[in-house]
Amino acid sequence: MTIELSAGFLPLTDSAILIAARECGFAEAEGIALDLVRETSWANVRDKLAVGQFEISHALAPMPIAANLGLTPFETRLIAPMALGLGGNAITVSNRLVAEMRHQHAFEMTNAKAAGEALARVVRTGQTQGRKRLQFGVVHPFSGHNFELRYWLGASGIAPDSDIEIVILPPSLMADALASGQIDGYCVGEPWNSVGVARGAGRIIATKSSIWASSPEKVLAVREDWAEENMETLHALLRALYRSAEWCGQPSNHTELAALLSLPGYLGQPVSVILPALDGSILGEAGAAASPDFFEPHARAATFPWQSHALWFYSQMVRWGYVDHSADHAEMARCSFRPDIYRSALAGIGVPVPSANSKVEGALARTTAVGASSQFLYLGPDGFFDGAVFDPDRLGAYIDSQKP
């Protein structure tokens, strides 16, 4: 018997695992007919999950956390039983701004510290000259983009809410807004950085992986009540997505994957702007040897929903004033990510799964073998560019340390 599941996705490279699951037969092999519906906004995804038009969706990692903390309109509890890869974002700025930054301080896109220093000098120069604040676009307040951009700015000595301005724009309009001078830069998922570069609107100045190595980005979001009532289906889906992620991560499949994603019903963008994020050539020559990878759909437990990732996003929601810190809130955030479901779904297929639910973010300077349920599993590097460490067991102290 085939089970039909309707899934929302936004046209982004990190929807790859869902698209390949459908197109390469991984969903079908688990008895699932995956209906993929392209959406134009995360608000639509949220609404359609809430009314049950979608059983599952491609979602920003902080979305389920925000929903469960009551920060979004509907009282629908969402959970993330799986992540959809690591990395995949970058910061792109206008040609004018990149020239100013280079004038101030040399940097490469794989060195977030140097790029941050260059931007900080431009901002300070602008302030002494009384220039208008720089404007950066992100796609959603509760997004990895917003929080990694803010983290990078903060650690570079730039106050995101007073030294510059952060505005919300849809990903597909970012490159146009940059080209027209409406904004000076943006932090967005691929292919929208490569699209901006291809149009000559700007240059990539830092990657998500250079700000926080092996960091979380999109997740699979499902309604908690749907998961409880359909656990077997969810398990089958997670197995299908795991196999799909494995396929997406194979370098020999990157060209085929880029061709799939480029189809008009999916990203509708040329292969030439999709492939660089998959094969790492987005990092240029300097980055080819650089570790970690720009976007990782499978290796290094890339689909494991670490509760430490959920808690880090929560710490940033507190930091930037979206929610007050309390033990209850932290617990709600932690339980939004469900490694227990991931583990039971994959228990039968003999793949290595982390045995812990959380890890200290920033503990691994390089890829390291760790104990797993079976076999060895490689994790990391997982450091923040400023060397700070996030220990989920010391959440309160971390939050205090980031208070202005």
Partner: protein, 199 residues
């Protein structure tokens, strides 16, 4: 009820659809209805009109941006997504099916808004139906064009009149259990491939 009807802002990049909703609301006695087709400077426009209800199409990629404006808005009137209490899941479902969403200022009673959303839903549905019909009409026109081309090719190569050419085409379609337009299309395509333009 002496309270004035809520003021409505319609955000729709499709000007035709926006105007049919506007017309429907006017006919129902709404006097304060504004339409915005252009997203540029939207925050300032919302602040200026301070609407009680905002109606927006789901295809609009700017919903996330709008919601963040509402969140940051220091204004007293703070629009929130419709049906927050989910008391009326059916209405929400039909709104989403129709492709429309609404934001309502906090505190406005749901029953005062329901008729506005119902109107938007029915006009959105009517518009999609019209679009579909137009699409079908366009398709029919295309089919007729290709059948005419195929008839011309047959008349030329077989030296027959138009009626006979059509009969041959229809027979081929029946034998192959296909639509006449499909047979005509393959004929025109192969003629093009073989160098006979058939134009």
């Amino acid at each position: 009820m002496n309270e004035p009807l809520p003021s409505v802002l319609i955000i729709d990049e499709n000007a035709t659809r926006a105007s049919i909703i506007e017309a429907g609301l006017s006919a129902a006695g709404h006097t304060r209805v504004t339409v915005i087709n252009e997203m540029h400077g939207i925050a300032a426009k919302i602040a200026l009109h301070a609407p009680d209800v905002i109606v927006i199409d789901l295809e609009n990629p700017n919903r996330d941006m709008l919601e963040s404006i509402f969140q940051l808005s220091r204004a007293v009137k703070r629009p929130i997504a419709m049906f927050v209490d989910r008391s009326d899941k059916e209405a929400m479902q039909s709104a989403i099916d129709a492709g429309v969403s609404a934001y309502v200022v906090d505190g406005l009673r749901q029953e005062r808004v329901k008729s506005i959303l119902d109107m938007a839903i029915s006009r959105f549905n009517a518009f999609s139906r019209l679009e579909r019909e137009l699409e079908e009409a366009r398709g029919a026109l295309e089919e007729r064009k290709v059948i005419d081309q195929a008839k011309g090719l047959i008349m030329k190569s077989r030296g027959v009149d138009e009626a006979t050419a059509y009969k041959l085409l229809r027979k081929a379609a029946m034998n192959g259990n296909r639509k006449i337009a499909d047979v005509a299309e393959s004929l025109v395509m192969s003629a093009r491939l073989l160098g006979d333009g058939g134009e």
